[in-house]
């Protein structure tokens, strides 16, 4: 199938994220999955996923992430990994570790899996299990050791927020003792469940600065031994992140029901009904679909982005964040100090930080029951 116009100048979807399911044995309140996870019942079949992989690979996709929810819930994961490997993808399993054992780790290796990234919710068992909503800490440690034993690059991911932000030193020491090759100190991104729980998750500015100092100190100390990626929480920044390196630029996500998205939060944007892989092939979705073209280039921008010299660097920040915080996805991401909404964001962060030392509202843990309740389907009428 050929397309008209300058297809050659269109970017390639180098990164394919396959959200295989929204089922998950954990209940992390910082999850960026959408609130309506209970809606995604009709998951893509094994064959449907393999077709998606083949089409994306033909377009130049080379990194494939298996994620969700929890990818391990899928019993066909070994088959999916093998298919992706045979197509020439570099495959990444992004997992909590819950749902695998030594036998499965070995099976993944035989199928050609390149890398397993294990998430930890904290460096202490108590906080880890509290945040995860299940007793997973010891199992995660065991899985981390097996990942090493089976000769995968060992990557640990910690999502930081108020309740573990101060543990960065212990986190890095734990990663070191597990002989991690890479540590990702990710920050909670406020979409989906994380946005719902934002008042309970956002760290204070002091916490963020302290954590960053510790991370930099260890980066220096461990140069060549363990690579540490530290992602700065953008609420305290003056310039926004170049989200996904631009809308429909290098990143393609497929949700469990086949919805194709330029990022995992875009489903919440109003006025956009994203195409489904059951109805269209990947080439049409990426190159031609109106939604994937909606925020490409610079013509959609409003001021201050429209004439800003930095627009080619950060693309105006995150569309989803602009919508969630200012009501218009075409606005500047209010993280930017040039945005008229920036002061309001700073005040919000301030207010949340001040309230953090007071009485705490409990987390709304991420699970199907809560999702149904939020969607108005629950028989339980409590909030």
């Amino acid at each position: 199938m050929t397309t008209s116009g300058s297809v050659a100048s269109l970017p390639k979807p180098l990164w394919l994220l396959a959200e295989l399911t929204y089922k998950c044995p954990l209940q992390c309140p910082y999850c960026s999955n959408p609130l309506d996870i209970a809606r995604y019942k009709d998951e893509l079949s094994t064959d449907e996923w393999i077709r998606v992989f083949r089409e994306a690979r033909a377009m130049g996709a080379v990194q494939l992430g298996f994620s969700g929810g929890e990818a391990l819930v899928r019993k066909d994961l070994e088959e999916l990994i093998a298919a992706a490997h045979d197509l020439g993808f570099y495959t990444n399993l992004l997992t909590s570790g819950v749902g695998m054992d030594e036998r499965r780790i070995q099976a993944f290796k035989e199928a050609g899996l390149d890398h397993i990234q294990i998430s930890f919710q904290a460096s202490s068992e108590e906080i880890n299990n509290f945040i995860a909503g299940n007793n997973s800490f010891q199992h995660k440690l065991e899985m981390a050791r097996l990942v090493k034993k089976y000769d995968y690059p060992m990557v640990l991911c910690f999502v930081l927020h108020r309740h573990n932000q101060d543990q960065v030193e212990q986190i890095l020491e734990m990663a070191l003792s597990l002989q991690a090759d890479y540590v990702e100190l990710a920050t909670t991104q406020y979409y989906g469940w994380a946005l719902l729980n934002r008042d309970q998750l956002l760290p204070t500015r002091e916490q963020v600065e302290h954590a960053e100092a510790v991370a930099h100190r260890y980066q220096e100390k461990l140069k060549g031994r363990m690579r540490i990626y530290y992602v700065v929480p953008d609420y305290y920044e003056e310039r926004p992140k170049a989200c996904m390196k631009g809308w429909g630029s290098i990143f393609l996500t497929i949700a469990p029901d086949g919805t194709a998205l330029p990022c995992h939060a875009a489903g919440t944007l109003p006025g956009l009904t994203f195409p489904n892989v059951r109805d269209h092939d990947i080439e049409w979705i990426w190159n031609e679909s109106p939604d994937f073209n909606k925020f490409r280039g610079y013509d959609w921008m409003k001021e201050p982005c429209r004439t800003c010299p930095e627009r080619t660097k950060d693309f105006g920040g995150c569309r989803c964040q602009a919508y969630l915080l200012t009501g218009d996805a075409a606005n500047a991401d209010p993280v930017c100090s040039k945005s008229p909404h920036h002061a309001e964001l700073q005040q919000t962060a301030q207010r949340i930080g001040e309230a953090a030392s007071g009485v705490q509202v409990p987390f709304r843990f991420r699970n199907l029951r809560s999702s149904k309740r939020l969607m108005g389907h629950g028989t339980d009428s409590r909030g």
Partner: protein, 95 residues
């Protein structure tokens, strides 16, 4: 990482990286967890030969034969491999 590379060293792509030709991008790449390094043609040709069967000197000889008339090739190869070593893309093959 500590000692400089020398002529007899046999270097290989490091364990955490995968080296392959990407047709869609028309170049060689190094793939690692969630990431990619795009290699220019020269880098691709050098790393292609770092498969554990050649010493650095042999890599240079091989390239000289393939690309006669390429000036300062030896220096270019050593400079590139030093950078690649510093980035931990390559390591000395264990004995």
């Amino acid at each position: 990482m500590s000692e400089p590379l020398c002529a007899d060293d046999v270097v290989v792509i490091a364990h955490n990286f995968r080296f392959q030709w990407e047709e869609a991008q028309g170049c060689h790449v190094l793939l690692y967890p969630e990431g990619m390094v795009k290699l220019n043609p020269a880098a691709g040709e050098i790393l292609k030969r770092c498969d554990g069967s050649r010493s650095i000197d042999q890599v240079v000889a091989d390239l000289s034969a393939q690309f006669p008339g390429a000036e300062a090739l030896r220096d270019d190869v050593y400079n590139f491999l030093k950078a690649a070593h510093d980035n931990q893309w390559i390591r000395r093959k264990p004995a």
